[in-house]
């Protein structure tokens, strides 16, 4: 319950930051600090249970039961320690922030900081690996924005930080998933208690490496250390929190948490100790080199975390005790140090050591608290830092592995500690002692108000107090070590352990450090020098650039607007698929009947001629005509195969395609574009491959069964089911009317989009190569007289076409015909009118063709809805209507449906003729009035869209 309260209180705090910010501005930090303090006390109050009796607090709720993920929280000693740090240090930083920032609203800051605290608490309390990961990533996201808050210059560092820590997060995710799948649970404590997976060396090594990557990235360990100083772009309170209690400590927590599983794994020990100590040394050296106090503190964090990682890598209970103590010590001194950097920065206007000096006189309190923190960091008794370092040294000496490994590790630690002493000295001496070195401003710096330095002083004194009363930490550190290693520890923390190796090492570190500080003029001699040729940032940007470049190349693979490329790839894939099938081979049934009749060969020959010619011609007109010939041949084929309606449709469509295509082709040059020979060869190869594939496929995969059950059903039942004897038509308007409905919508939409596209883009003018050369006075020129022949013939044909089309419409259910064929015939009539007209103006067909299309769709849909009277959409209804001359007319709503089809077809043909066939005024897509008057229904559409009138009715232009 406590755990739930804790998280809820935090979440509520996050949610209330906008309000607090609005009411209090920067002072919003006070109530937040109070809340954090309260939570700290709440957590502290759990110590008797969690630390004393070793009973962890637990809470659980289902979240993703499908994969066994729960909202499972658990606070043991380890969790308790980190929660204390998160809330305790959090309270100090929040209080500090109220004075650090200038007095105005800081919405994003408080929101993100509290979110950060929430995420961090969640992280250390999560007892579910998925939940752990969720909070882990939340800290990443929060830190990204916190860094980014500082303005444009911070965006790159923020992004670098995000990507690097997200990479670690992904490693953690991989580890989590591996564990879930392996152990069948996502509960962390169960996984860690399970020894079955830790015995599989390969598996445990993989998981260990993944977790180590997460730890190293989050805790800024070599070679991922660069992000932490990089992130100094963030404001100082952010840095203080990030470095002392949150974010980087997440890595430490993770490493400690997984020690029960990996503690005995030499790979883990070695990895952590070697890289940890390397980081400790490198970070300390770099810290000594800095001029900027904040960067110095940042490299110091890198180094101190190196110590922590390395000692966790040792894996013994004693080592974990040392880790626990040092975690606390570091949290206190590092938060104090950062806060003092902020104090100096604000009060003196700079944090550059080259400008600072002698501040102790004007800022004595700050000087004192900084010195105390630095002393703790340097490992000087009686501060807590001294005790923790003693324990660290002791632990390193007992590092696992070969006998020489412990002493070497110890020596490295001493080296790092010496540098630590040196940079601690540089920090305090450079800023507060000596003489002022800079300009006016910091000479006039004054001490901050108590409310500003008090939080820092608290942290600083905490190190002193705990150092003096260190045995009170015994229970806690023993419990932490127990939780982290699953082995009991029996540590007794003391300031004075007697004369032992660790004390000697401490002395050596201090001595060497003093020597180093003296020889390097407190670091000035080393500062600013490039010790290594490349920086981590450079490597990151190099890799980043590299990936972007590779990405660019990848995009280039398909970066072409030539349809040929995009069309060619699928064809090649099909050929490949066919080749594979051919190689593998199929067991096919025998051919079920005769697949060739003598006459068929005529059509094969005709098709070969037509297609062959269409392929080689360079004339657009010839191309069109020849493809038309191929289309006629298809119609003949359909006729051969007994598909009479289909053949008729194909024929009509072919003609109308030519009619429409001509309207377009005249706007284009006579000849097709030239194509390079190499391309011709390539496309020919692909084409032949595709042709072979199609021919073999068609032969092998079709015609090997008797008529299908469905086909048999239709032939047997159509008259009885539908009252129609034209079985194909009954399928179209009865059985599968839904297909036909879709098809008529497709056709209608084609008409609409032609209008829409022309509305937005317009057509090309007639191509110059197609101009008439004969003069206007030539008797062959005047259209009025010269079209008289076609008009006269048209006058006789038109009624025939209309009659014929109506006849076809009505008889379709029983004999060849139906809505499509009838519509195409009717549409042909309009095409004739268009073609025979002596002028464009007289060719214009003054009908609201979009409305005809719409009416077609509505009529078809209406007949569909009639079907609901009998239980289903598009179910045809039947009635026998008595005829005047006797007998009955079998009426079915399928006929209504067919009327809808008819209308849509006619509407589309009208659209094509009017939109493509008529010339428009130059630069205008408007057409003359008159059209509008025919269409009252379209009038309203322009009312509140003056710029784009006719917005739903393309005819209204």
């Amino acid at each position: 319950m406590v755990l739930l309260i804790l998280l809820i209180v935090l979440a509520v705090t996050v949610a209330s930051t906008p309000l607090l910010d609005r009411l209090l501005g920067r002072n919003a930090g006070w109530p937040i600090a109070a809340v954090f303090l309260g939570l700290t006390l709440l957590v502290a109050a759990q110590a008797p249970q969690v630390l004393g009796s070793g009973e962890p607090l637990e809470f659980s709720r289902p979240w993703m039961p499908q994969i066994g993920v729960e909202l499972h929280l658990r606070m043991d000693g380890l969790g308790w320690l980190f929660t204390m740090l998160v809330t305790g240090i959090g309270a100090l930083i929040m209080a500090y922030s109220t004075r650090y920032f200038p007095p105005r609203r800081r919405f994003g800051f408080y929101f993100l900081m509290t979110l950060f605290a929430t995420a961090m608490s969640g992280l250390v309390l999560a007892d579910d690996v998925v939940l752990l990961f969720v909070f882990w990533e939340l800290t990443t996201i929060a830190s990204f924005y916190l860094i980014g808050l500082s303005g444009p210059s911070a965006s790159r560092p923020a992004i670098r930080t995000f990507l690097l820590t997200a990479m670690g997060g992904l490693a953690l995710l991989a580890a989590a998933v591996l564990l879930i799948v392996r152990t069948g649970t996502s509960q962390l404590s169960v996984i860690l208690a399970d020894t079955s997976w830790t015995e599989d060396t390969g598996f445990v090594s993989l998981v260990a490496v993944l977790v180590a990557v997460a730890v190293f990235t989050k805790s800024a360990q070599f070679p991922f250390h660069y992000w932490l100083p990089d992130a100094m772009a963030a404001s100082t309170p952010v840095s203080a929190y990030l470095h002392a209690a949150a974010m980087v400590k997440a890595g430490i927590y993770l490493a400690m948490r997984f020690t029960p599983a990996f503690g005995d794994l030499l790979l883990w020990n070695t990895l952590l100790i070697v890289l940890g100590l390397t980081t400790a040394v490198v970070g300390a050296v770099f810290a000594l080199q800095q001029h900027d106090l904040k960067r110095l503190a940042a490299f110091s964090t890198v180094s101190q975390l190196g110590f922590l990682v390395a000692v966790i890598g040792v894996g013994t209970p004693e080592a974990l005790v040392a880790a626990a103590v040092h975690t606390v010590a570091h949290a206190l001194f590092k938060s104090a140090l950062f806060m003092s950097v902020g104090l100096v920065d604000i009060q003196a206007g700079t944090r550059d050591l080259r400008q600072l000096g002698g501040l102790r006189r004007r800022m004595p309190v700050t000087a004192a608290l900084a010195a105390l923190a630095a002393l703790s960091m340097a490992g000087i008794p009686p501060l807590l830092g001294f005790i923790s370092k003693e324990n660290l040294f002791e632990a390193f000496l007992h590092a696992p592995g070969p006998a020489w490994f412990g002493p070497v590790a110890g020596a490295a630690a001493v080296g790092a500690a010496a540098f630590t002493f040196a940079y601690s000295f540089r920090f305090v001496y450079g800023a507060f002692w000596g003489e002022p070195r800079g300009d006016a401003e910091e000479r006039t710096a004054s001490e901050a108000r108590p409310s500003f330095w008090l939080p820092a002083m608290t942290a600083s004194l905490g190190g002193v107090l705990l150092g003096l009363t260190v045995p009170i930490l015994d229970t806690m550190v023993n419990e932490v070590a127990l939780n982290a290693t699953h082995e009991a520890a029996d540590a007794h923390l003391l300031l004075w352990h007697g004369l032992n190796a660790a004390l000697g090492m401490s002395a050596a570190a201090v001595g060497l450090g003093a020597l180093l500080a003296w020889r390097s003029r407190s670091g000035d001699a080393l500062a600013g020098r490039d010790l290594v040729p490349v920086t981590g940032v450079w490597i990151f940007e190099f890799l980043h650039e590299g990936i972007v470049r590779v990405g660019r190349r990848t995009g280039d693979l398909t970066r072409t607007d030539s349809p040929a490329f995009h069309l060619g790839v699928p064809v090649v894939l099909i050929i490949a698929l066919a080749s594979v099938v051919a190689v593998v081979g199929l067991d096919l049934p025998p051919v079920a009947g005769q697949t060739a009749m003598g006459l068929d060969w005529l059509l094969v020959g005709l098709m070969a001629v037509a297609v062959g010619a269409a392929v080689v011609t360079r004339s657009r007109m010839a191309g069109l005509a020849l493809v038309g010939v191929a289309g006629f041949t298809v119609a003949l084929w359909l006729f051969f195969l007994g598909a009479f309606d289909v053949a008729l449709t194909q024929l009509l469509v072919e003609i109308l395609t030519v009619v429409v295509a001509v309207l377009v082709l005249r706007r284009l040059p006579k000849k097709f574009h030239r194509v390079k020979r190499s391309r011709t060869a390539l496309t020919a190869v692909i084409a032949i491959g595709a042709g072979l594939t199609a021919a073999v496929g068609a032969y092998a995969l079709t015609g090997r069964r008797e008529i299908s059950a469905a086909g048999e059903y239709f032939l047997g039942n159509a008259p009885e089911d539908t009252g129609g004897t034209n079985v194909v038509n009954t399928i179209l308007v009865d059985y599968r009317a839904l297909d036909t409905f879709g098809e008529l919508v497709v056709l209608g939409v084609a008409g609409l989009i032609i209008i829409a596209v022309l509305h937005s883009s317009g057509l090309l003018p007639v191509h110059s190569s197609r101009r008439v050369v004969v003069g206007g006075t030539n008797a062959a020129y005047p259209p009025e007289d010269n079209t008289v022949l076609m008009r006269t013939v048209g006058r006789f044909l038109m009624p025939l076409l209309v009659l014929w089309s109506v006849y076809l419409l009505f008889r379709g259910h029983n004999e060849p015909g139906g809505g499509f064929i009838a519509g195409l015939v009717g549409g042909s009539g309009f095409a004739l009118l268009y073609l025979a007209a002596p002028s464009d103006d007289r060719a214009r067909i003054r009908l609201a063709y979009p409305a005809i299309i719409g009416a077609g769709v509505l009529v078809a849909a209406f007949s569909g809805f009639l079907g609901y009277a009998d239980g289903s959409f598009l179910k045809p209804l039947h009635a026998e209507i008595p005829l005047a001359w006797g007998g009955y007319f079998h009426f079915t709503t399928a006929l209504v449906f067919d009327v809808g089809v008819y209308l849509a077809v006619v509407g589309v043909l009208l659209t094509a003729l009017n939109e493509l066939g008529l010339e428009r005024g130059e630069g205008s897509v408007r057409e003359p009035e008159g059209f509008r008057t025919d269409r009252p229904s379209a009038q309203a559409s322009g009312d509140d869209a003056p710029a784009l009138d006719g917005s739903t009715t393309g005819g209204n232009r």
Partner: protein
Amino acid sequence: MNALDVAGIVCMTAGALVFLVGSIGLLRLQDFYARLSGVSIAGALGTALLLLGLLLHYPTVDNAIKIGLALLIQLATAAVGGNAIARAGYLVGVKPTEKTQFDDLAATEKDG
């Protein structure tokens, strides 16, 4: 096979051959305007014979009307189509053969 059938086959075969000769005309005749004669051989006589053959095979009143109508339409439209293409060719300046004796149409232009 009755007499009508035989007549039908004869008609059709003859029509097909006429048709073939017409299209050979497309190859052999000298200029565009001459080749239009090939078109009308195929479109008029050729098609007419073929339709007649069909009628002889299915000699019903119904078919007589339909085929008669079809023939009428075919002849009318073939003629108008031929005219349209001839005029189109003339308008875009398709050159007649050198042998052409005179061109009254071109003269109308000069007069104009």
